[in-house]
């Protein structure tokens, strides 16, 4: 047993209101640069929907993730290493910009500079790729809130699959359909296929906290990782020619702060915490023959941090005591393993994803209440969970490779919690048969309710800080997305875009800001990105400039 620690996230989908705050703040913090216009480390998909990039879940086409080969051994879906090397000169299945969307801005200057006249000036959309006029035809969330679903809904690969299997049409009529939001980030997998497909070995998993990063100095732009990741959470920066991905906000996490998406989440539905897992058992677990058993196999990797044998092995593996303690208090462990309500997204990709989801009960509740039923009654809820096959099958395709029993069990727990807590809130005698019907005690059901409904900041985010005595740099290492574009980000370096030594992000922000304020940048100009979170342009914030020669700051 080799115990390692993994930073992980759980999202409670019932609470997501699809506001995209997480996406926007993440973008503002990390990908508001030239070359990453189309890059959304965090995106929120409306399901049913095609997702981002379009139909990324169709692995028959995109060839992401792992499969078992004929001998039952784990193999990348793109085949052997040699085969991938032979395909290196033109990646066979890499999404093109059209599969994402062509990012655009508007020609705002015509608004402010139009001469007085009878006609209203119009700000035309301009492509951020070519600088030319463009027609906006798709975006990162074009089918938001089921927009266009009556025409395009069948393009969702999961809808296709469920339809095939149940021979029943999922209806996209307004009253008959169901809908929920699925926020997605990189899964920081235990068995990442992006890493396995990287020819340069530039993608690595941090041994301390399991965060998966791209070493920007080692990435050579071979693009194999884009194909390798089944979640399509590696993006190609088309200006710097390097792969970029969600960093789990490691500079924040190292000092004990939650990721930006978690911190800003309006629904407060994200939980951050540690798992202890057995690194030696990962490959075996990922090789489980039946895809529907992968969820249990993955859960089996997660070790009980209260077990003395695990603690001893963790200590032996160099995990500090406060980390073991944090693992004991970990909300993600509680939701995934203790209560068993959080499920991994697409376990059948065999990457052992470490962002888990509490599936939404809302499709059931919404349908019940819209039809005038009591959506907080246990019997009604349980009956509906069993009767509403399509939503349950859809969720099962997302979270358990199609095993509906697992999803049903989770939904029943959520329903039981709802029914039980109604009695408590209304001051009635709580019904102990409700927790019993889902195999829980009153205490554990209440504790689960506390964690899911009212957990405070420090209960939702249990993040042990990085250890200085592990002798680690809290700044930026191998990865560092915060060093984009070359010296003077507005001209090409001598060897093309973004060559030369990286500039710290603070300096870059300064230059971008200055440029913004002192020039009237036409929309065709692709430069200029401002990180508004950082600075308003006034004064001399500390750390932004080197100290003056004369000593004044």
């Amino acid at each position: 047993m080799r115990v390692m620690a993994q930073m992980a996230m759980v999202m409670n989908l019932d609470k997501c209101i699809g506001c995209h705050t997480c996406s926007v703040t993440c973008k503002q913090a990390w990908t508001n640069r030239a070359g990453t216009e189309y890059v959304w480390f965090n995106n929120v998909e409306t399901r049913p929907g095609q997702g981002y990039p379009r139909r990324y879940e169709d692995q028959d086409h995109w060839k992401g993730g792992w499969t078992l080969n004929k001998r039952g051994k784990l193999e990348l879906r793109t085949g052997s290493r040699a085969r991938r090397l032979l395909g290196i000169f033109a990646s066979p299945v890499q999404p093109e910009l059209a599969d994402y969307y062509e990012p655009w801005t508007y020609d705002y200057r015509t608004l402010t500079e139009a001469p007085l006249g009878d006609d209203f000036p119009v700000a035309r959309p301009k492509s951020l790729i070519t600088g030319e006029d463009t027609k906006v035809t798709w975006s990162a969330n074009w089918d938001d809130n089921l927009g266009g679903t009556s025409e395009l809904g069948h393009l969702d690969p999961i809808v296709e699959k469920v339809r095939r299997e149940s021979e029943e049409k999922i209806r996209f009529e307004f009253e008959r359909t169901f809908m929920f939001y699925l926020p997605r980030i990189c899964e920081h997998c235990l068995n990442p296929s992006c890493m396995a497909s990287c020819p340069s070995g530039a993608i690595y998993k941090r041994s301390e906290d399991g965060i998966v990063l791209v070493d920007q100095d080692r990435c050579r732009g071979w693009r194999q990782c884009v194909t390798g990741c089944p979640y399509k959470k590696i993006y190609f920066n088309h200006r710097s020619g390097k792969a970029e991905k969600c960093t789990f906000c490691y500079p924040r996490v190292e000092v004990g702060l939650p990721t930006v998406c978690s911190e800003t989440c309006v629904g407060r539905l994200r939980y951050l915490g540690l798992f202890l897992y057995d690194a030696d058992a990962v490959t075996a677990a990922a090789s489980t023959p039946d895809p529907q058993d992968l969820y249990e196999a993955q859960l089996g990797l997660m070790l009980d941090p209260s077990d003395p044998a695990v603690v001893a092995a963790a200590r032996a593996g160099g995990i500090p005591d406060d980390w073991i303690d944090a693992a004991r208090r970990s909300p993600v462990y509680a939701l995934a393993k203790t209560y068993r309500v959080a499920l991994p997204l697409h376990p059948e990709y065999r990457t052992m994803p470490m962002v888990w989801y509490v599936p939404p009960l809302s499709p059931v509740v919404d349908l019940l209440s819209s039809q005038g039923h009591d959506a907080e009654d246990r019997a009604t809820l349980f009956g509906a969970i069993d009767a509403l096959r399509i939503p349950v099958e859809y969720l099962a395709e997302l979270f358990t490779a199609g095993r509906t029993a697992t999803v049903t069990a989770v939904l029943r727990k959520l329903a039981a919690m709802r029914a039980y807590m109604r009695d408590v809130t209304l001051g009635r005698d709580p019904d102990p048969s409700i927790p019993a019907s889902v195999g829980m005690t009153e205490e554990s059901l209440y504790a689960m309710y506390r964690l899911m409904a009212i957990a405070k900041y420090d209960e939702r985010y249990v993040i042990p800080t990085a250890h200085a005595e592990q002798a680690h740099d809290l700044e930026e290492l191998g990865c560092s997305l915060d060093v984009e574009d070359g010296p003077g980000m507005y001209e090409s370096g001598p060897f093309g875009e973004a060559s030369g030594r990286p500039v710290p992000v603070a300096v870059e922000t300064f230059q971008a800001l200055k440029q913004r304020q002192t020039t009237d940048t036409p929309p065709g100009d692709l430069s200029g990105r401002v990180n508004l979170l950082n600075w308003d342009g006034n004064g001399r914030p500390e750390g932004l400039f080197p100290p003056r020669k004369d000593g004044a700051s």
């Binding site: 090397l85 100095d217 050579r220 592990q470 191998g478 030369g500 030594r501």
Partner: protein, 237 residues
């Protein structure tokens, strides 16, 4: 003149190539990439790029074979001069033509696809000129060596001994000087290509990921022991 061209220049080229590469690697790891434009356009790239790259790999193998292995060895192995050259013409010619066709497609694509053209730097353009010149002249020498135009020339009696003599630091200037002018030009352009190599996007070839075949799939890496740097210093790696 000959002494400078064939006795001095090759060493200058090597020094520039080696020193330039080291310098670039230290100075510009972040810029060391293929700068792929597949995201913008992949239909033409999927034809042109493999054609070019596989072609050039065969060409490299051919060069090594022709320049490094002495004629006496192949003859001892029972391959006569004639057979050797027919082979060289067929394989070299096909590979060279593929390479040329590949790069023609790539350059056409580069010019005609708006975003790809926008991502093309002056450096790239200069590099393409040298690269295409080297390939085209190389094809020309292949033809010369089997007697297109004038009489056939066996470069394995002129260029190859010179090439080998460079490694023992006793450049055989005379045999190179005896080669036809096509070979001279091709060699000069080739040397120019290698001299500018470290300063162009061609550097990606030096980090061809052969080690991928041997490394473990999952890479664990610890946060390194680097003291925190203040915000304004350049990050050192």
């Amino acid at each position: 003149m000959n002494a400078v061209l064939w006795g001095v220049l090759p060493y200058v080229m090597v020094v520039v190539l080696v020193a330039g590469s080291i310098w670039r690697y230290r100075y510009d790891k972040f810029g060391w990439t293929t700068r792929s434009s597949q995201l913008y356009e992949s239909r033409l790239l999927r034809i042109g790029s493999p054609l070019f790259h596989f072609g050039i790999l065969v060409v490299i193998v051919g060069h090594v074979g022709g320049l490094v292995i002495p004629e006496s060895w192949t003859e001892a192995a029972g391959v006569s001069e004639g057979i050797y050259h027919v082979n060289a013409l067929v394989f070299g010619g096909i590979a060279g033509a593929c390479t040329l066709a590949g790069i023609a497609i790539l350059i056409y694509r580069r010019r005609r696809t708006g975003p790809v053209f926008m991502a093309t730097t002056a450096n790239d353009k200069a590099m393409y000129v040298v690269l295409v010149a080297a390939i085209a002249l190389g094809l020309w020498t292949t033809l010369v060596s089997v007697g297109a135009g004038s009489e056939a020339h066996d470069y394995r009696e002129s260029v190859s001994p010179w090439f080998r003599s460079l490694f023992v630091l006793q450049p055989d200037v005379d045999s190179m000087a005896a080669a036809p002018v096509e070979f001279h030009v091709h060699t000069l352009v080739g040397m120019l290509l290698f001299a500018i190599w470290p300063f162009t996007r061609l550097v990606h070839a030096f980090t061809a990921p052969v080690h991928y075949l041997f490394r473990p799939y999952i890479v664990y890496r610890s946060r390194d022991a680097v003291p925190p740097a203040p915000g304004w210093t350049r990050s050192r790696r």
